[in-house]
Amino acid sequence: MSTSTQQSSAGPATSAPSQGALGGHEKQAPWVPWAVFGAAAAVALAISLLTGWNIVLFVIYTVVLGTLGTYLLSRVTEGSRKATDRLITCLVVSAFGIAMVPLVSLVYEVVRRGAERFDAEFFTASLQGVIGPGGGAYHAIMGTLIITALTTLISVPIGLMTAIYLVEYGTGRLKRSITFFIDVMTGIPSIVAGLFAYALFVLIFGPGIRLGIMGAVALSVLMIPVVVRSAEEVLKLVPNELREAAYALGVPKWRTILKVVIPTAIAGLATGVTLAIARVIGETAPLLITVGITNATNFNPFDGRMATLPVYAYYQLTQPGVPPQEGIDRAWTAALVLIILVMGLNVVARLISRLFAPKTSR
């Protein structure tokens, strides 16, 4: 036993100095990999000019050749350990690049096409009486804001209180089953949430009903589990010592939660809620079923159909009218506004977590 371990550990120990950083190989200058990739790009350019120009193939050639070249060069000059390191670095960076392609091209395309109608009229006019050019999405923007606000109003109290129950009070069976159902809810397809809300309101008001509040109920089904999950994680992060410190001062449990646990976690809670809003603000399918679409502005979620940005974009694209280009342009701008809203919410989330974070400056 002991001899075999000694032997196996003796192998790398004796060979290490000959190839490791201690031994004879020089360290590569930092510009070398860049030069290799530059050469690879030149070769790739030559190949693709010979076989017919194609930007995608050119990039692929460059990356593959550059990676191979870097690996081989490093293997010869720096030894196998460093070479493997460089190979993995190239692979990781390539994977990152591949992951960025859809994001960048999506944002680029939406901005390019959405810029067409990104004007004042888009934000001030509805589609009432609009045939052909002009018109806007004021009614849809307001609809999205109202319905999302209602959704938040429903989901945040329920979600937060559920999370507080799970972290602070829950034990045994009830806690386990709630956790299980929250997991199930997380996976519910959004169309099912829409059908649920529709079926619920049909029971009360009869078939064909369309209301803003129905959309808020449907979106809440999607938002509640997200809020519960994020709030639960954040509340679990509050150190138990703080709760015990409060108990030891003779503070009842509910006041401890209200005055110590929640203030300590407020940054994370607010961030979680903001991200949950961002998650539901672009939902289309449930709103299609429950809220429908109108051309006029409707501020009342308890009376009749409302327009929302995603559904607006859907209808402008599928039923653009004549000439079709006007509707298609409006659809792209609606998509752009949605993306801006979601990005704005993410920025707000970051600001919140920075502003509310406990101050520990020394």
């Binding site: 703080l242 015990e244 030891a248 001062l249 003779g250 503070v251």
Partner: protein, 259 residues
């Protein structure tokens, strides 16, 4: 207002696990009682049973009697929250509330309990408590800065100030100096000597010299083996424990010949 504590036949459980067994002792008012013993023998557990902090752990329970000045702590009509207002606690790791300023940390006991207090009364109380904890001079210019920005020793004294601000009758301290440097430790020890004029103090410590320096009475806890309950082996005046203990185990532990 210091009070006397009588413990009889106390068994303490975590679920089905008996962590401490058969403790009998009485703690004198206006004195410092030290509890020593190896890790895991149930000192913290015993201490937390004295102010009903033990039961906040799910499944934890207590059998036996703890009587403070004639009042049974575990009586059926006793509210644990009231008990904790009378018996304050300082923890091993300083744990000021991170969202609160130094001032608010000291005021926390009253504020969190929604006791209406005028601004000037509160100012007085905060100043008195911080002076009581020997921290006033170091922080009086920055009362509105976050409490978590203080050094470890200052944070621990802030926690002591927070504990004495609710004017408890007994102060329980669980290894209050184990996270502190020697100078802060001395500051806290001096503080304990002053505080015992008003409070009954029970302190858990791993530091023999500390027990010898500050306490009048010392209790030695020990356990026979892993999974066995801890027991109070000897409870005697500190001088006797450190010079001529009744039990062999105590002597072995104190002289470092243990296990």
């Amino acid at each position: 207002m210091a009070k006397r504590i009588d413990v009889s036949d106390l068994d303490i459980y975590y679920g089905n696990f008996k962590a401490v067994e058969g403790v009998n002792l009485s703690i004198e008012p206006r004195s410092i009682t030290a509890l020593i013993g190896p890790s895991g023998c149930g000192k913290s557990t015993f201490l937390r049973a004295l102010n009903r902090m033990h039961e906040v752990i799910p499944g934890a329970r207590v059998e036996g009697k703890v009587v403070i000045e004639g009042q049974d702590l575990y009586g059926s009509d006793v509210d644990p929250v009231d008990v904790r207002r009378q018996i304050g606690m300082v923890f091993q790791r300083p744990n000021p509330f991170p969202t609160m300023s130094i001032y608010d940390n000291v005021a926390a006991g009253l504020r969190l309990n929604a006791k209406k207090t005028s601004k000037s009364d509160m100012d007085d109380l905060v100043e008195r408590s911080l002076k009581g904890a020997n921290l006033w001079n170091e922080v009086k210019d920055r009362l509105n800065r976050p409490g978590s920005g203080l050094s470890g020793g200052q944070q621990q004294r802030l926690c002591i100030a927070r504990a004495i601000a609710i004017q408890p009758e007994v102060l329980l301290m669980d290894e209050p100096c184990s996270a502190l440097d020697p100078i802060s430790t001395l500051a806290v020890e001096d503080l304990m000597m002053e505080l015992k004029e008003q409070f009954t103090i029970v302190i858990v410590t791993h530091n023999m010299q500390q027990a010898a320096r500050v306490s009048e009475t010392t209790g030695f806890f020990n356990l026979n083996g892993v999974g066995q309950p801890g027991r109070l082996i000897e409870y005697n005046p500190t001088e006797k424990i450190f010079s001529n203990p009744d039990e062999k185990a105590t002597e072995d532990y104190i002289s470092g010949r243990f296990g």
